[in-house]
Symmetry: C2
Subunit: 337 residues, 2 copies
DNA sequence: CCAAATATTGGGACCGTTCCCAAAATAATA
DNA sequence: TATTATTTTGGGAACGGTCCCAATATTTGG
């Protein structure tokens, strides 16, 4: 089926040498006479010799590969984090294997199995909105393979994590809305299973309380982040006898979707209703009205996660550290408020 | 450094069996007594046994992994193609390794080496805007590892390719502009090194000719797709004594950037100047004005590329096929025209 | 109850490297 | 020149599986 791949044995045979000698030349290791060195190098080049990392990794028990598992790929958030993480990883000599769990628990489990089977040296994970059982991730800990969470983390596990101050970000966003005269602020929240939803909800509530605005549970809608449902929720909010004059959305895609719905109803943004998103996705600056949003330091998140993982990989299991880096958000004010 | 990973030998020793027997159970292969089968399965589960694909791949000379190399990750085009390709690959039992070449030739070469070293079963590639030498890709052919191009292809190589009818897409876009009364249509073109730039340029020129509009080279600007330069070019065009009344951009990011510049100058879109992009990126529907664009069947491109690759992998080198699939584009008319 | 048939298990080669240790070749020294 | 020191090379184990073939254990049938 496949052509024969060139191995050091082929080179050794052709030059009447032992594979040990060829190996030595190719790894630039010990003393080899100039003559044989040159001969080996020349033939290797001529034959397009490429070392087989499978064999090397099998022996060294190290693949120099890190896995990244993210829930999705369609908003700009995760791709950007991945770009940043890859940069750090590449710099440190690591390859990356990326897979998306598609927001489903089963796929996430399957992906972790694949990563394990392929002997990654560590993984960076942001869990799905469904993930409640963490056994598939705890296996990594047990096997001594470092794991780092970002964004959507697993509280049960004592491992490095990179998050942003969701509470503060949400608080600032809602506080800003109130300072601008908004009285009835709705919150399109994420699923309760995710800590980030919870923290953003807390920030929202806290800002209301500080400003002596009563929390109206009617204005808080938690949903599973399936964008198609946003339309229903927004329409529901707008049809209330006492509709909101602002919406704080748990993320940008939700906010963007909400804006489409509101525009279609002929309401004016921000005059009739203001909108704030979370994360500063690529599209949020371009759309009309451009979206006010709580920006995350996306590149920093990716780079920090990768760095933490690599640090962990280079440490002995016995001195694993479990730092949690909390990065700052920044409210970016645009036309939607 | 790392903990000992559980192997079939550990299981064999613990149960006083040979590794052959354990292997048989774990692969579900031949006849094994129910008693031993259950004992092995139970212990394997208890110890979190995970087979080491490195060892298996080394012997079978197959990793069930395909590589995908794309120039960038920041527009929505490539991520979407990748999602679609991954779907087909996963379905067929293949893992995917994705890497971005960052639009630089050196990185592309480095990435191909990594893929080779890791013994991928095949690769899907869209080359950088810089790539003029294809030796690093031809190695795959020589080694009998299938390669499939999409979007930005290498003409020199007789391998499967997936492209869209760029000529027709461009032709239709420009023809539409003319039918709507535009007389001076500028073209922000891509680098001449890429065939897609060339074909889109040809379509642009052909539409002008068909409609008896003289081609004004002053209105054609080829650039390297570095978005920061768009501002300079657009301003240059608008400052001409006889400025264009429409711009056909080689891709959506370029068009989106152009729109920002034009809006900043206080011109009205589409009244003063119309804009058309190419690819129907995620943001193009959301922005204001929403962008008229030549849509590519992105998911189909990814799926087709993956399917062609897998077909090729399953064929003997001697009957490799080199089909070129040309998919249709569709002009999506929005507010910018 | 014993031979033959069948079910179950074990042994060992193999994949492509690296690395340690010993062997051979060469150079240095007395 | 013989002997030792130093280069240079070769041999073989190891990594963790799969798979073929032989060996053993268990059934089965006459």
């Amino acid at each position: 089926m496949k052509k024969h791949q060139v191995t050091i044995i082929d080179i050794a045979r052709a030059l009447n040498l032992s594979k040990s000698t060829v190996s030595r030349v190719l790894t630039g290791h010990a003393n080899v006479s100039l003559k044989t060195r040159e001969a080996v190098l020349e033939l290797a080049k001529k034959l397009d010799y490429q070392k087989n990392m499978l064999a090397i990794s099998l022996i060294s028990k190290k693949t120099n590969t890190i896995g990244i598992i993210v829930p999705e790929f369609s908003s700009s958030y995760f791709p950007q984090v991945i770009i940043a993480a890859q940069e750090v990883a590449t710099q440190a000599g690591y390859n990356t294997v990326v897979s998306q769990s598609n927001e489903t628990y089963e796929t996430e489990v399957a992906n972790t199995k694949v990563m394990l089977a392929n002997q990654v040296d560590g993984i960076i994970v942001s869990i799905t909105r469904e993930t409640k059982n963490y056994d598939h991730l705890k296996i990594f800990e047990r096997k001594g393979i470092p794991i780092v969470f970002f964004n959507r983390v697993c509280d049960e596990m004592k491992v490095p994590k990179v998050i942003v101050d969701d509470f503060e970000g949400a608080y600032n966003a809602v506080d800003y809305l109130i300072k601008n005269g908004r009285k009835r602020i709705a919150h399109l929240a994420g699923p309760v299973s995710l800590r980030i939803s919870e923290r953003r909800l807390d920030g929202y509530k806290s800002a209301l309380k500080k400003n002596n605005i009563e929390i109206d549970e009617e204005l808080i809608i938690s949903y599973d982040l399936g964008l198609s449902k946003v339309k229903i929720y927004v329409n529901h909010l707008l049809n209330l006898e006492n509709p909101p004059d602002a919406i704080f959305a748990v993320n940008d895609p939700t906010a963007i979707e909400a804006i489409q719905v509101i525009k279609k109803r002929g309401l004016k943004i921000p005059e009739d209703i203001a909108i704030i998103g979370f994360s500063n996705d690529y599209a949020s600056a371009l759309m009309a009205p451009s979206l006010t949003t709580v920006a995350q330091p996306i590149a920093e998140i990716g780079m920090t996660a990768a760095q933490l993982l690599i640090d962990q990989i280079n440490r002995d299991v016995s001195d694993w550290k479990a730092v949690t880096k909390v990065l700052k958000t920044e409210l970016i004010i645009r036309e939607s408020t």
